[in-house]
């Protein structure tokens, strides 16, 4: 309900629109630029002569006969084996989301329904765990993983990412389950259900909004991870993000900088699509209280 006196003056609306527009350009333009540039050759995207070449594609026309080219995409996906990285990312992301939601819902439900004091200490411990820089954990993994001979393979990375993700999932789902009325499952218990049955038949049907939000964050963590995947996977098993980094660093591809540019677009596009669909859940998750740490 907007009262009449609270109307905005014309100048304010104008100023505001300018500001928002400027800010939108700052946040969105880099992505549009990269998307556009990924269809050019390196001489255009990183043009020594004139930055306008990246828009018009002068060198692209000379080199390929057209003002835009999908050469970088084709090469990075086939020769650069980006398809493999994409497969690995899909495997890791799907597994991490499924497992961490399975563990997280059970754990968080128990935390939200128990009245004992230790739940508080568990949540505090989870908060501390959440704050640990991932690289410090990785430095602890490497040596034991080498000794156990489990370094470099996907399952290890999946389990590690699930564990790293647990504290946040627990907090998020804990605050979600707190908003589900206790009476719901209590009445089921009185009717003779076990705790597990109450969870399965009463809570599960109503928990999906919270689960979608938690799943979205698990997905973003697994999809975006660089620290864990780059150090715990061997080169053949790299996911998208370390793969892009590898394109930049290795000498054999130094001429093929555009592989990295096109791969950045390939990796970002699906993520943006998903966020477009689940924007509301993302925002509700970020604001679910003092969670993100």
């Amino acid at each position: 309900m907007e009262s009449k006196i609270n109307r905005y003056s014309k100048q304010l609306i104008l100023l505001n629109s300018f500001f928002i527009l400027a800010w939108l350009i700052i946040s969105v333009f880099p992505f549009i630029w990269t998307f556009w540039g990924s269809f050019k050759v390196k001489a255009d995207f990183f043009s020594r002569a004139d930055w306008m070449f990246a828009v018009t594609g002068v060198n692209t026309l000379i080199e390929t006969g057209d003002t835009s080219t999908v050469k970088a995409y084709v090469e990075s996906w086939t020769e650069g084996e980006f398809w493999k990285a994409t497969m690995n990312t899909i495997i890791i992301t799907v597994s991490v989301v499924t497992i961490s939601l399975f563990l997280g819902t059970l754990g968080a439900y128990a935390l939200s329904r128990s009245t004992y004091k230790y739940t508080f200490w568990i949540l505090i411990a989870a908060l501390i765990f959440r704050a640990m820089p991932h690289i410090t954990l990785v430095s602890g993994y490497l040596f034991p993983f080498f000794q156990l001979n489990v370094w470099g393979i996907l399952p290890t990375t999946i389990i590690v990412l699930v564990a790293i993700n647990q504290p946040f999932t627990l907090w998020l789902l804990y605050s979600f389950f707190k908003t589900v009325p206790k009476e719901l499952d209590e009445s089921a218990l009185i009717d003779g259900c076990s705790y597990f049955q109450a969870f399965r038949f009463v809570i599960m049907p109503v928990m999906w909004p919270g689960v979608v939000t938690a799943g979205l964050f698990s997905m973003m963590l697994a999809y975006n991870d660089f620290t864990v995947t780059s150090l715990l996977l061997n080169q053949q098993n790299y996911t998208m993000v370390p793969k892009i980094n590898a394109y930049l660093g290795t000498i054999e591809h130094s001429g093929n900088y555009m592989w990295a540019v096109s791969s950045v677009v390939s990796a970002t596009a699906p993520l943006f699509m998903i966020i477009m669909f689940f924007q509301r859940q993302l925002i509700s998750g970020l604001t679910a209280g003092a969670v993100k740490g």
């Binding site: 939108l24 946040s27 990183f46 563990l103 508080f120 040596f143 620290t227 924007q279």
Partner: protein, 342 residues
């Protein structure tokens, strides 16, 4: 819920956290107490037609054997913590006695790897956070006033920098800021200096990284502020309007006080998140001039043949101490919230 049921519900999740978060910290600490075995040298007499000479060379067989016996290396106690690459006690002592002025001493101090990294990490944290809070608040206020139908797409656009992983985000900006990119050319044009590059000096690189940090973190502050703005009570605002308060006065005296707790939350999270800065340094290829604590660990672990577990472990422990210091206010806050809930 009875203890037994609780245990079985929580067990899988708890086990995962214990094994892969709790244990690695301990393992990291254990590693930090050890140091890689030195290579065993041996004297070999090499004879050729022109005579014999003795050479020292690495006894590969003995070294491999030693490595197999003690894969973690030999016990070194807290030695790694004090060496040149970490707290560098000896070097500091020496610098303290030898340097004539405080300026000279700080200069030597800040050239030691650990202190250099610490300086960058802290500078990054404390330079990024204030602008993030201010900008996030302004953007939130601004988005809050636009037409409802435009809000969804606008919010989507604003949060994009936060969604992409820092490595990709920094690469995308780096390619524009690069001397051959669009922004780089623009800056050269602006200062009329065709050789100006943001990589030319360490200050400029630091500024670039900080600008990236602001770009990446502002959406988070925006989202939290935006959500909090929806909870600002309308009655005091209406009362203020009737009393003739201007828009600025309303924001200053009603909205901002309402958002104080949210702002402290954002500041703490921002400090903690930026303390682990690593990917932007890689993305901007700024390793030469800007190292962070996380980068030091990453660098120790990067090479596949010779990983410095001891050194990485020690830096990890020191980083964790830093995180713990930053985390204390968050913990106190959570503690208080729980107290009031019960």
């Amino acid at each position: 819920m009875p203890h037994r049921t609780f245990f079985w519900f929580f067990f899988p999740s708890g086990l995962a956290m214990l094994l892969f978060i709790g244990l690695p910290i301990i393992s990291s600490f254990f590693q930090s107490l050890h140091i890689e075995p030195e290579q065993i040298l041996m004297e070999v007499e090499k004879c050729d037609p022109f005579g014999c000479k003795t050479e020292t060379k690495v006894d590969i067989e003995a070294t491999t054997k030693l490595q197999e016996e003690q894969p973690l290396g030999r016990f070194n106690g807290l030695g790694t913590y004090g060496d040149r690459n970490h707290l560098a006690f000896d070097e500091i002592k020496e610098a303290w006695t030898n340097s004539s002025s405080i300026a000279e001493f700080t200069d030597i101090l800040l050239n030691l790897p650990f202190y250099k990294a610490l300086l960058f990490t802290l500078t990054f944290c404390f330079a990024v956070t204030p602008p993030v809070v201010v900008l996030g608040f302004i953007v939130a206020l601004s988005v809050n006033t636009i037409t409802k139908s435009l809000k969804g797409p606008t919010i989507f656009g604003v949060i994009l920098p936060m969604i992409v992983t820092p490595l990709i985000g920094s690469l995308v900006l780096f390619w524009m800021i690069d001397a051959k990119g669009i922004l780089g050319s623009f800056i050269q044009f602006l200062f009329d200096d065709p050789n100006l590059s943001l990589k030319s000096s360490s200050q400029l690189t630091w500024i670039t990284l900080i600008i990236y940090g602001i770009w990446h973190n502002t959406p988070f502050a925006f989202v939290v502020f935006y959500a909090a703005l929806q909870t600002v009570p309308q009655d005091p605002i209406e009362a203020a309007i009737i009393d003739g308060a201007s828009r600025y006065e309303r924001v200053r005296h009603i909205v901002i006080p309402h958002l104080y707790p949210v702002a402290t939350f954002i500041i703490l999270i921002c400090l903690m998140d930026n303390f682990r800065v690593l990917e932007p340094i890689i993305g901007f290829a700024a390793e030469g001039v800007a190292q962070s604590l996380s980068w030091m660990i990453y660098n120790d672990l990067r090479s596949e043949n010779k990983m410095l577990f001891g050194s990485a472990g020690a830096t990890s422990m020191l980083t964790i101490i830093g995180v713990a210091i930053l985390l204390t206010p968050v913990l106190i806050r959570t503690w208080r919230e729980f107290r009031t809930e019960r």
